[in-house]
Symmetry: C2
Subunit: 501 residues, 2 copies
């Protein structure tokens, strides 16, 4: 037997680890959130801070922020889980009807047939059919084929699966993936892990974070010098920007994708979260259809949706789906094979998704309550979107674009040059230092803009608009006071007022 010293160095260390895993970053649950958890525990154990609670505005987790779940959705999932409840008089008929239908489509050949287990890897057939019907209605008649719908474990799972399918990390043919900056860091994380090339296109902050197709061209041409750009990722409504794309913009993007042979990944998980009265959600697929068969029959597209956002906010069930358009049949078979290795998405998430695409109809008993609850959630979000924008824009040195949709504000913050230097001396991103101080001094947890990407020399943070109106006001007032104090500390109040306006 070989001799080994008592202080054994681990066989697997950072040195031997998969370098692509090391390259991954994910700020939404990154260092600042870990710090927030530590402070929270410290407070719970009786520790003292200048505040009594940590407000987590770092992640789009509606229920954790006190939003009530949609009753009907929870009823359907509970009925599917414990079918004895199908006999209970306290559950409405329409919920029971849906649960029975899902269970029947789920169990397959079992005689009992009423206990869900593994589903097909693509998802339960009747749910895929419901989703296709929903998409046709949403897109005013544009055809949707249920065979092109795949249930996923949240939208993240679908996005990663499609990227893995299309992206090759091989040295001689590294795939370029175009992503917006700022972006949702799942994209950069997946690209790093797959050893693909991240190709940044910058959204136009001065134009309410709109996507400018000239910038797409610039990014594409630059990238072509060192990789093969194949995939174009879009997030609409935008995360973290809250921007809602116009139909004109989507057309330009699709035309560009058509010309440059790019696979379009449309992250449309916030499709139900549009608040600005002059904005409307247009699906990429619908716009593609309107551009005519030359486009509709050729541009390859995947669209992603989720049960975690919208008005349901069901993050824990991990529900989601993707629709693929124009995928080569052989490539589709490869996708199915890849999905089958992971067996199936959670059935609870599939059922949650079914309720979203197949809500109670006017003649069904749950219709009233469902739409009342939905309206309350979306109404409150719209109010909080406005409130957030207004209060932030009243702070000297903070400028916030309108929160047209999604669940986040991504304000630009002025950080005085001396503070920037201080951060750099600490080996820290300036906005990371800012957010850490905000957390330490006020208990508010937001994510630094550097976690999403931003133009060199500009600084931001992302905050959710999910806390209750009351708590959100407290949060925003604390940000206001903190920011002024921060500026004063560097005697930079006047400078800030001139700089960001």
């Amino acid at each position: 037997m070989k001799y080994r010293s008592t202080v054994t160095p681990k066989l697997h260390s950072l040195n031997t680890l998969n370098p692509q895993v090391k390259a991954v970053e994910y700020a939404v649950r990154g260092p600042i959130v870990i710090k927030a958890g530590e402070i929270e525990r410290y407070l719970q154990e009786g520790g003292k801070k200048p505040f009594t609670e940590v407000i987590k505005a770092n992640i789009g987790d509606a229920h954790a922020m006190g939003q009530q779940p949609i009753t009907f959705l929870r009823q359907v999932v509970a009925l599917c889980t414990f079918p004895e409840l199908l006999d209970s008089p306290s559950f409405p008929k329409d919920a029971k009807w849906r649960a029975r239908r899902i269970l029947q489509s789920c169990g397959g050949q079992s005689i009992e047939g009423m206990f869900w287990s593994y589903s097909a890897s693509k998802g339960v057939d009747c749910i895929r059919q419901d989703i296709a019907a929903y998409i046709e209605q949403r897109d005013q008649g544009v055809p949707a084929n249920w065979e092109n719908i795949f249930l996923t474990t949240g939208a993240s799972d679908g996005i990663v699966s499609i990227l893995r399918l299309l992206v090759s990390g091989q040295a001689h043919a590294r795939t370029g993936v175009m992503i917006p900056i700022p972006q949702y860091p799942l994209y950069s994380a997946a690209i790093a892990e797959m050893d693909a090339v991240q190709v940044n296109y910058y959204l136009d902050e001065d134009n309410c974070w709109a996507l400018d197709v000239h910038e797409l061209h610039r990014a594409y041409q630059t990238a072509k010098e060192h990789c093969q750009p194949r995939v174009l990722c879009i997030i609409n409504p935008g995360n973290p920007t809250g921007q809602v794309q116009s139909k004109k913009c989507i057309k330009d993007v699709l035309h560009f994708a058509y010309e440059e042979n790019l696979f379009v990944m449309a992250d449309e998980v916030y499709q139900d979260n549009v608040y600005a009265p002059d904005c409307q959600f247009h699906s990429f697929k619908k716009v593609l259809y309107e551009m005519g068969p030359e486009y509709f029959n050729s541009v390859e597209l995947a669209s992603f949706h989720s049960s975690s956002k919208g008005y349901t906010g069901e993050c824990g069930f991990r529900g989601g789906f993707m629709e693929i358009v124009n995928l080569d049949p052989e490539v589709k078979s490869q996708l199915v094979k890849m999905l089958s290795v992971r067996l199936c998405p959670p059935v609870t998430g599939q059922a949650a998704m079914d309720v979203i695409v197949n809500p109670p109809q006017p003649d069904e008993p749950s219709h009233g309550q469902f739409y009342k609850e939905k309206g309350l959630v979306l109404g409150a979000l719209a109010d909080k979107a406005k409130l957030t924008e207004h209060i932030l824009n009243a702070v000297p040195g903070i400028k916030c674009n309108p929160v047209q949709g999604a669940m986040y504000a991504f304000p630009r913050i002025f950080i005085p040059p001396r503070a920037v230097e201080e951060a750099q001396a600490l080996g820290m991103q300036p906005d990371m230092m800012y957010c850490l101080r905000l957390l330490e001094e006020t208990g508010i947890c937001v994510v630094p803009g550097s976690g999403f990407g931003q133009r060199e020399g500009s600084y931001h943070f992302r905050m959710t608009i999910l806390p209750s109106a009351e708590k959100l006001k407290v949060l925003l007032e604390k940000v206001h006071d903190f920011h002024i104090k921060f500026l004063n500390e560097y005697s930079a109040l006047d400078e800030a007022q001139r700089s960001v306006s």
Copy 2:
């Protein structure tokens, strides 16, 4: 605008696809299962076959085969999903108590606190603590630290995560991953996708599929010539073999891993599925502990468990966990980061896992029913394991090792040389041809041994022992008749009797 012909070739075709995805194979839901689905639909639509139903013995999906879920587990998950039920008199107190506790640990800082949403990426704290307590009890006092427990989306997710962490596909340092042959094809699929090197070690069919440490040495030495073996995967109880490893064997394996600096991945998802009276499940961690601190403080180990197997068979909730031992703290941080990108495992699966590790105690109201149901399931499985072995061994040309544990029989089948030639002429694996004919002629769906790996020139299939006893008997009799007919067709009955015995 560029001109494009009307019959547009897809931009992304098999040629441009990620080559690692193309290399993936997964027989458990592969071509034969797709074919079975087609036949099923054909029958449903009134088509005629020599049988009236397809019996799917291809996948370990207990509820689809008519096994009843454990009532208590479903109650807890339903209560967590729809907390209004906490006021219902028709749910037992112990189920309510568990649901409340999970929800409280789940919701974090929300005042309402009773609606689960995202959990921490590692899983709900109180569930991780319950799992650690369960492991300590299972391993008769060997310490388990809850900070080393991570909830996963089924065991597959944990296995893939650990492999991704450890495995590098980079040309100059390709990682070798040692896997048993036959294996569960998740392993080969993940290795192919990550561009690592699959290092086969063969289990000893003549010795009831036992693992022979000399074979490990052989495989390791051979592999070292072309890759860097870093990981050793073990499946115990075995899938597809049904073998249960002795403590002596586990010690030998751990000693080998210690000497050769291998990270041990112990797939122990069938730990509750041991039927043979002379066999017992020993966890790799417990045996490692018994080998003394020199081993226990140095061998890096990950053990995986699942809610999909055992006596619960809850496949749809996608519950699972892993325990990691001796991981370098920096590597552990990287693992946490990687898990956080996917946000969290489904909360329903986490709750299901909690019931498994924290079942009703003798003084709790659900204790009686719980253990009655558990006993029924495990008793029936033990009977069916015996039944399967006996009936298969009575077929000339079929030899089946005892099904000591897990949920599968993996009998060796004699395929006459002329049939082998015929298959090869069709460009098909001989056992694939056999299984396809079995399906077409009898409606029985099993998976060819080539999907799991087998010694050159030997043929097998994997079948689950999950159908009801009555249906299982029918299935086995049909296999019996089919096999004899198949042999007669090639005038090979005598040859078969001599060959496999």
